[in-house]
Symmetry: C2
Subunit: 340 residues, 2 copies
Amino acid sequence: MTVSIKDIAKAVNISYSTVSRALNNSPRVKLETRELIQRKAVEMGYLPSAIARSLVTRRTNTIGVVVTKITDLFFAEVIQGIEETAVIRGYSVILTNSDGKPDYELAAIQTLRERRVDGIILVAACASTEAKQQLFASPEIETPIVIINNVHQQHVGYSIETDNLGGGQVATQHLLDLGHRRIAYIAGPSSEWDSVERQQGYEQALQAVGLALDPALIARGNNFAQGGLIAMQQLLALPDPPTAVFCYNDVTALGAMRAAYAVGRRVPQDLSIVGFDDIALAPYFEPPLTTIAQAKREMGEKAVQTVLDLLAGEPVVEKWVLPSTLIVRESTGVFGGSKT
Amino acid sequence: MTVSIKDIAKAVNISYSTVSRALNNSPRVKLETRELIQRKAVEMGYLPSAIARSLVTRRTNTIGVVVTKITDLFFAEVIQGIEETAVIRGYSVILTNSDGKPDYELAAIQTLRERRVDGIILVAACASTEAKQQLFASPEIETPIVIINNVHQQHVGYSIETDNLGGGQVATQHLLDLGHRRIAYIAGPSSEWDSVERQQGYEQALQAVGLALDPALIARGNNFAQGGLIAMQQLLALPDPPTAVFCYNDVTALGAMRAAYAVGRRVPQDLSIVGFDDIALAPYFEPPLTTIAQAKREMGEKAVQTVLDLLAGEPVVEKWVLPSTLIVRESTGVFGGSKT
DNA sequence: TTGTAAGCGTTATCAA
DNA sequence: TTGATAACGCTTACAA
């Protein structure tokens, strides 16, 4: 049923090796036979088999991506960046979901390797550091692996990160500049290193102006709005609640705002909120969210580029740290703004 | 470098066909040699080549997905449904982005076919109806194609849809029940048939209670919050503005709410809003959004199931229409609620 | 229970 | 400029 190179060869009565050359536009075949063959190919509805080609070229032109959660808006934008640059470079993307489970992640990598993907990109790699080290150190270093947003502290292999520390500092500094002194941090999952780094930035900013750290002002959220909501409820129940909150990410911030509104606190008059990520919906939150933007698409782009460079044997930078930038919108206001 | 079945054969001094059988747990090989071979395989770090296997089995255990926009929360959840059920069934997913461009979509399908995916799922297929008909009618009907949310009216091939008409009716009826009489509809892109169907549901609900349709109450948005925002501004500028708005989707609703807030209108006291989709963030909007839920994951599941059934030659239903259900939250209130 | 050999659809290396 | 032919790594009759 599927027409192959041999069928075409038979149809035009030429050896199939010549057909192969003609189809690949090799200059080593006479123009007119080349055209004849190509015409016949489309006429017969020929579709080359990438599978067969891969077997001999040992390249699949495929990049495997494993992500912890596809529906996370931040990841979705990173993946978009990956997919777009991959396609431009002639690669396809195999996407798998690890659901944040290290063993799923490892299993997914295994599957991708069986499929002989040319490279693997881990978005928010959650496998243990040892497991990751093994991935990179293994004798079959064949498949390049690049990590976007390592979940753990220790750096292994090639990675693309955001300047979380700087982002945390800038966010906190912004709140300090507005006159806030009781500033809380709603963290992400305890396991995530990016949350720790953002918290470190927060702490450094506070200490830089001589403010003592109050452990009561650190609440733990998760990767969902619900986590931000609950954390915020706890903060608001404090005897001396914060007047401003820096959140692990935008979704957390959304949950936090919801909790504030639910008890009649207004943002930013009564409470200032800063997020992280700058997801596409952030400008439409009520009020539009002040946040720290990550270079989401660029992360995807850089990851693909790194994989391709690795494949080409070109020099690559081991660890990219992309800048995070403050985007001031309306969820932050001067301390005491409610009195105005 | 990569160890193959032959390397193992050599290592244990057994023919490689036996090795193949042993690795596939064929009962046709003595238990002890099977164990010997399997032990040796892991010892040598053998990773089967899915490529080589596919070449002979003519199955890649791969499903190609082409989606118009990965970062759309609705699509992301559908894709999650696809990916999860695919993995469970032993399939991998190749994801491509069409960016809503028909020619990209067709090109993506072409690529997927070259990769010999076992089936293709089009999420919000945007190619022209003729192009789609050709896809289904083509002589090489080999690769099953299933469409989730056809963008056009005409039904072709196999598809999974949501009950858009019913959803539009229920949403509008909900607003009517609350006493609203001037109800607007903010549509999606004019090209999208689902928006047309939702609008039809809206119109039917109005007509059922004897209300005349006012063309001024139909505004056009797009797939982004910004479209909802602009459309809402237009509606609010009307001499006799609506007291309630049914929106093409949740993101549109978010933009609409933003526009309302920006001019001091409160939701739901001054204006009731209903969305469509029930994306994960909808409960955290300010106020939490009343909306029509689509069975997003199920759509993905059903699509994969249909592809697999088609592959197995089993009977499949040509067109699934999944129910849409009203989720009442806080963005809708009784007409005149602002006076309370 | 094991081995031999053909073949999947290409590319690539030689010769001609 | 073209043609044989050998891979690529596997599955699968068919034989032994």
